[in-house]
Amino acid sequence: MSPTISCSSVYKIFGNNAQTLLSESGGNVDAKKFQEAGCIVGVNNASFDVNQGEMLVVMGLSGSGKSTLLRCISRLTDATSGKILIDGEDICLMNSKQLIELRREKMGMVFQNFALLPHKTVLENIAFPLQVKGVTTENSIHKALEMVELVGLKGRENYFPRELSGGQQQRVGIARSLAVEPDIWFLDEPFSALDPLIRKEMQDEFLRLQSVLNKTIMFVTHDFDEALRLADRIAIMKDGIIEQLDKPDNIVLNPATDYVKKFTEDVPREKVLKIESIMDASDPNASGEIAVKKDDIIETVAEKILNSKETIKVVDEKNSVVGSINPSKVIKVLFGE
């Protein structure tokens, strides 16, 4: 199956003669040289795929180009060069009519500062993408009501955005982006403007939604913990370059560069690593009463393992045994070398 989103050698360079400078450099872009020439490098040679139903979290500090990358893929800005395929079609070549069609059918986006229309109520905001598509008022409001229920805002349909808290406003933003039932869901630092407690709650809510909806997601954040918590895969960006793109546990275990290492150093391993990464696979016939799954995060099953005195078997999704795990390994992870 071909990937839902596929980027190859995507560049975004801001400045007047970006195009010529880029073709002169032959794809080998040095940010400093470009800056001297009056150009700012936003995205530097990004190539990656996102598969159907996968959540890719793009993580980076401010100015790393992560939002720019997202905007290239949604074509809110035009990439300077490169190919961006959505379901096999290059969006850089689309005309505005095709683009509008694509956004109306396939894409939804959530913004950092909510970007709700201040003159519309919760219900009208959510129904908005449907209404610009030409859905009748009755049907769009009906659908919007469903969405209100989905994001847990029932009873506040007629509130204006200004009357809602930040968390509630972002729920509206989420509902709006989902109203057209898009395949691809873009989220641009959706929880960054929220209080830490609300942020945690919204992340849980988000995971719940994703388990129901199973969209293809690109999620941008500057918060490494958030990335670890949510991602199927993480792309870490710095100065427009993707430093590493891998599964969360792999990034923690094998940081590719010093920059990535700085983020992973303080991460508690047990919160990231799965049983799979510490199990003993050489013993496929392990016996025992208790079993843990190989995809379980260590922290969640640590107590269970430590309470039993013996070796525990590890099973896969089909409940067939794939290895065993010894409590001493867990203790090692928990209390470190």
């Binding site: 809110l76 956004r103 500062n113 709700l116 229309l117 003159h119 109520t121 219900l123 007629n158 709006r176």
Partner: protein
């Protein structure tokens, strides 16, 4: 050593200003005052401008692009200039719209006359649209208010309409209202279109900016003569004058509002799959609606502020009544008409705001009757009151009070006001008079003399020097060019008189505004209170300010100056409060912890930080003052305004003179604006406020 002095001068602005002052005084004293000396007065090399402008206007009206036009009366083709036909059709269209609204409410046969022949209409004299009885109109205003904003607005509309009716101002009020109802939407559409265009195209915005600057600083009077020449006299001419004056703020508000939208909202619109048109009408304009509505509000206020001035070109209504009353010094009558204007302004203001915030309810499931309940009640009440009024025709012999209460028969409180004014006049005559005399002989007289005794070389050196020190060489050349333009006309002396009046009023108004603003801005409640007072005073048409001062100080410079000072204190106060309120609370706290007293906090923290904003207020004060000083020509001053006013009665060379003089006033305001804005920007940058 020598180099050291130069360094000091280069780095210290006070030193530069000091040297400039010395040069200025030197020039002032040593340039001989005789007409042949070009350092004293420049020759009027640009005297041809008004004449040329006139030639252009008349050529456009009578010579350019002749078209064959069919004349139905003489049944033949005639050569007429295309431009003239164009202005004529605009006039006709506007007049039709205004008359249409007017007759819809007041009754009449002018609209019917357009569609049938005169002779037929004379034979069938029953053929006339019936007037709406004021009783039904009051019910209508009440219901409309209820529909828009509930019981409170209903009361406002109902009582307002009732007051207007029983005090006999029904007819002129409707005349004024019809004028506003037609003019406002035109200003709205024009302003919104240009604003959107300016927002979408950077080049258009750059081109619009100077045009808007000139339009907003031109004295309203200057437009009147050219408009008479182009469009003739009548309600439509008043409407056009108002459109010219009220559209620029609408354009500015639209651009401002659209620019303030956060880029994320635009992106959200795009990601929702909006087409360009949908983005504009469903996302951009509604999101900017607060600023756009402020624009509409300004337009309505401008329309009402213009009703008096529009009456000079033939607009009927409250403005005309006010002007007539004022001309015959009937203060009470004038105040009554003024009150009606303010009342209409307030009602329209509230109604439009409520309408803009109206919400759609998706869950109501109403029957036809429930949905149109209010409309049905209104229809029934029109029917009932019309029938009653019609039957009453037999009961009243001359005037049917159930249709209209004419102004002579309405209630009035004019004589109470007149009595109060008389009392003030009699009681304070001596003190007022001696104050007036003192001001004229001790302050204003010498000041005027000093301004008129200023050699042109000295004036130019001073203004250009200030511009150079504050804004650099570009500002200096810009300001110098504008001043030179005025100096090379034959109106320089008049311009100096305008400048002296403006200087005096600006200084006084700014001081007032800063003091009043500072006192009230100490507490949050105080700020809120004084800002709403400012709102209230700004709904007064500028003309209203002249009513009391004429009576108290006669027809002298004092009257005009006091009106100008009071009028211009409003923006000075407003900006002072804004500036002081924008000082971050953390700085207040830091000051308090450093142990400052209230006075120290004001002088050391609040005023320096608020000063850039306050200076922008002073900018507004200059514009307001110039408007009022020019308006003062109505009651007789001898500056530029008086010449503009005089041009009204000179059909031949009037338009050119009025435009030129208006432009001069505008250039003075813009010169100040350029310097002050530049300075405020630099201060803001230096304080890190941007």
């Amino acid at each position: 050593m020598n180099k050291n002095y130069l360094d000091i001068i280069r780095s210290s602005k006070p030193a530069q200003f000091g040297i400039l002052l010395i040069i200025f005084l030197f020039l002032y004293h040593f340039i001989p005052q005789n007409e042949g000396n070009y350092f004293w007065r420049l020759p009027s090399l640009l005297g041809f401008i008004p004449i040329k402008l006139n030639e252009i206007i008349y050529a456009a009206l009578y010579e350019w692009f002749p078209l064959k036009v069919y004349d139905p009366i003489f049944e033949m083709y005639e050569e007429k200039a295309a431009f003239r036909e164009f202005t004529k059709s605009i006039s006709k269209g506007l007049l039709f719209l205004i008359t249409f609204v007017r007759e819809l409410l007041l009754g009449g046969d002018k609209i019917i006359d357009i569609f049938v022949s005169d002779a037929w209409l004379k034979e069938n004299d029953w053929m006339s649209w019936p007037a709406l009885p004021w009783t039904a109109a009051t019910v209508g205003a009440f219901l409309l208010g209820y529909q828009l904003g509930g019981f409170r607005l209903a009361l406002l509309g109902g009582i307002g309409s009732l007051y207007v009716s029983i005090f006999g101002n029904w007819v002129p009020s409707i005349q004024t209202l019809s004028f506003v109802l037609i003019t406002t939407p035109i200003c709205f559409v024009l302003g919104l279109s240009f604003g959107i265009w300016g927002y979408l195209d950077k080049k258009v915005e750059t081109a619009l900016q100077p045009v808007l600057n000139v339009m907003q600083t031109m004295p309203q009077f200057a437009y009147l003569v050219p408009i008479i020449a182009l469009f003739g006299l009548g309600d439509h001419a008043g409407s056009i004058a108002t459109i010219v004056i009220a559209t620029p703020p609408m354009i500015r508000n639209t651009i401002l509002g659209l620019k303030r939208i956060s880029p994320e909202v635009v992106e959200a619109g795009l990601m929702s799959g909006c087409t360009k048109r949908q983005l504009l009408f469903k996302v951009l304009i509604p999101t900017a609606r607060r600023d756009i509505l402020n624009g509409v509000n300004t337009v309505i206020m401008q329309c009402l502020a213009m009703v008096v001035i529009a009456s000079f070109v033939g607009a009927k209504g409250l403005g005309l009544n006010l002007k007539v009353a004022l001309n015959s010094l009937k203060i009470g009558k004038a105040a009554e008409a003024g009150f009606c204007i303010v009342l209409i302004a307030v009602i329209l203001d509230r109604f439009t705001k409520a309408w803009a915030n109206k919400q759609v309810d998706y869950f109501e499931n109403l029957t036809f009757f429930e949905r149109y309940k209010l409309l049905i009640i209104f229809g029934i009440s029109i029917l009932i009151f019309s029938v009653v009024a019609f039957i009453a025709n037999g009961y009243f012999d001359k005037i049917n009070y159930l249709y209209v209460i004419p102004i002579e028969k309405g209630f009035t409180f004019a004589h109470y006001i007149d009595a109060a004014v008389d009392w003030v006049w009699e009681t304070f005559f001596y003190s007022l008079n001696s104050f007036n005399k003192f001001l004229l002989t001790q302050v204003l007289g010498p000041m005027k003399k000093a301004y008129l005794g200023m050699p042109v070389a000295a004036t130019l050196t001073l203004t250009m020097g200030v511009a150079y020190i504050i804004g650099g060489i570009r500002t200096c050349l810009l300001v110098g060019g504008m001043m030179l333009f005025i100096a090379m006309s034959k109106y320089w002396d008049r311009a100096l008189i305008t400048m002296y009046m403006a200087t005096f009023a600006v200084i006084m108004a700014s001081l007032n505004g800063i003091i009043v603003g500072s006192i009230f801005a100490q507490t949050q409640r105080g700020s809120k209170f004084i800002l709403s007072v400012c709102d209230f005073f700004e709904t007064f048409p500028s003309f209203v300010y002249l009513i009391p001062v004429i009576f108290l100080f006669n027809i002298t410079d004092t009257s005009v100056l006091i009106a100008a000072i009071v009028y211009a204190t409003v923006p000075a106060t407003r900006y002072t409060v804004w500036g002081l309120n924008s000082v971050p609370p953390s700085l207040h706290e830091a000051g308090t912890m450093s142990g400052v007293s209230r006075m120290q906090r004001w002088t050391n923290i609040e005023i320096p930080l608020a000063f850039p904003t306050i200076m922008l207020g002073v900018n507004q004060t200059v514009v307001f003052t110039l408007q009022m000083v020019i308006l003062g020509a109505l009651i007789g001053t001898e500056d530029l305004g008086q010449l503009i006013f005089g041009a009204l009665s000179r059909a031949q060379d009037g338009p050119g003179v009025a435009i030129t003089l208006g432009l001069f006033v505008s250039l003075m305001a813009i010169s100040v604006d350029v310097i002050v804005r530049k300075w405020a920007e630099e201060r803001k940058k230096a304080l890190g406020l941007d």
